[in-house]
Amino acid sequence: MRPEGAPEASEPGDTVTVPAPPDMATWHRLHPLSPLVRTGRHFVSVGILILVLIFANHGGSNNDFITDFVVIGIALIAGVVSWLVTRWQVSDGVLRIETGLIRRDSRRFPLWQVQAIDVVQTGLARVLGLAELRLRMAGGDASGGRLACLRLAQAEQLRERLLAMAHAPGLAPAGAPGAASPASPASPASPASAASPASGASGVAAPGPERLLFRVRSQRLAGAIILSRTGAYAAVVIAGVGLIAGLSGAPGAAAYLLPIVVAMVLTVWRQFNGEFATSVWIAPDGLRLRSGLVQTAAETIRPGRVQAVRLVEPLLWRAFGWCRLEVDVAGSRQRRENRSEGQRLRALIPVGSRADAEQMLAELVTSAPRPTLGAPAAARWKAPLTYHFLGWNGDDRYVVASRGRICRKTTWVPLEKVQSIRWVQGPVQRRLELASIRLDVAGRRVTASIQDRGAAEAQQILARLPDQARAARELNRA
């Protein structure tokens, strides 16, 4: 792909294909204001606590305030100390982060194993012009790295450079073919990925040419969230609380239920905030996602790291022709403050029309087979409601399967990403001579389920798929 970079890469002694600029190879501190940003969340919660106490005590004892300020003070001092002892460095294609006062903790993140790099700005960080850099590795929750905080410009520059280094050919050892493979399903048809080697080869990261794929419409997003499950729950809870308050005659009684309402509103808000103004761009270093209203996030999904693509069409959305397109990326998002986010897949299209989804799908999946092979008639007895949506199909690169009653889910899985294949037959299925095949991919419970096939067909699929998956893996490696 990059002949000009090859001679450097082939030198055995030189592991740095892309020479790190001198300013990155030395040890760096984080931004001095980062303790403030990192304890910022505590400020908010302590502030709420103080307000509650004021209302509860009607200006009672001042001791509460003193303890609160002591708590804030300790948090700040701890933050400053942790800032003093934290430093980072990039050399030999590895990002090192050292931290810890008493127990030194030195972590190294080999850049060729990076799954994605995010730039996240919380509300407070945005005011101060800071940003946090998050690295996602393939492992579990604790395997990611974070640099909080850097100046926004610095963070973006660093991300460009890290991604450029991560892409350098020759950096990837033989065991990680995914890192080096240019022909990956994430950017198969992208001419940009082949046409612009300049961004990585020179080492100095010029942001590659970007092409906008999708941008969410704000009104539609608001409507979609109201019509989603989250919105429905929130509406039911709020209506219930209102009803209780109205029936009991004493609005004070509803005050006890206020926390539930607040939690509901927060959940809806969080989703809106997280998905607001989502835009997806395709660039040589992968897909770039930007989103957020107050807390903004920019992340890059490297080509070849998409494990599965899922199209979700909830019942209410179908009436409007809306759908949601999600991708599964190995490795979890490091976002402790936002657990609910971590449970879901990354939405490339939080809500969009079928045309949007089709266009995005064409970018992600080279040959998108359609789930045209319907389930056998016997499946009608086992799944009378779902039957209509059951289907699957596959070619030599992808398998697609769709299911779901209220919420129709269609999942595309690249065969080279399949981790294991399972055949399952429950008691009802046995009686009806049916069976299901499940394809597991890396990540959080993402499974393409070829549901309720005839027993003979399932057996045939099971006999064929492992070989096909192996062929796809070998093709990908070559």
Binding site: P177, A330, Q419, W423, V424, P427, A435, A463, P466, R477
Partner: protein
């Protein structure tokens, strides 16, 4: 561990697959575990019912729980018989389950790590459980009741195969 025909809970796949079975001691291990659960539960249930209600009630409930345990034992036999695994050229197949029958195919190259564990009952009988992990959380494949020597050998064998066939994420 012996090579046997697919047995009553025959799973699909080629007829030529050589299914291997867990050790015959697995059934004994499962029976011991069932006894270890049933006896205290029956005793406690019977005692409580006897103290709170009447003596016949206590006896009845105690005996009822023992009967439940015996039924469970009947089920255990079939479940133990359903376990099987087969080493193929490129992947490992594991089958299990009576009510819900499952068959997993795990390519050697996809195995991230392999565990060999043994609980107290298994250990006392010289057995171990082999557990294979892939990058997908859903693909849970394990083989219980292997002889410890067989488990260790299989583990090393699988690890070696995994290394030669390893594939990136």
């Amino acid at each position: 561990m012996s090579v046997v025909d697919p047995g009553p809970a025959a799973a699909p796949g080629d007829a030529g697959i050589r299914w291997q079975r867990p050790s015959g001691l697995l059934l004994r291990a499962r029976r011991i575990q069932a006894v270890l659960v049933t006896v205290p539960v029956a005793l406690a249930g019977g005692l409580i019912a006897g103290l709170v209600g009447s003596l016949p009630l206590g006896l009845g409930i105690g005996l009822g729980l023992v009967v439940v345990g015996l039924l469970w034992e009947r089920f255990l036999t079939r479940r133990v018989a359903a376990w099987g695994y087969a080493e193929r050229g490129e992947d490992l197949m594991v089958r299990r389950g009576v009510l819900i029958r499952r068959l997993s195919v795990i390519p050697y190259g996809r195995m991230q790590f392999i565990d060999v564990t043994a609980g107290p009952v298994e250990r006392s009988l010289g057995l171990a459980t082999l557990r294979m992990h892939t990058a997908a959380a859903a693909s849970d494949a394990r083989i219980p009741g292997l002889d410890q020597a067989v488990a260790a050998k299989l583990r090393d064998q699988l690890a070696a195969l995994g290394e030669t066939q390893a594939a990136g994420l």
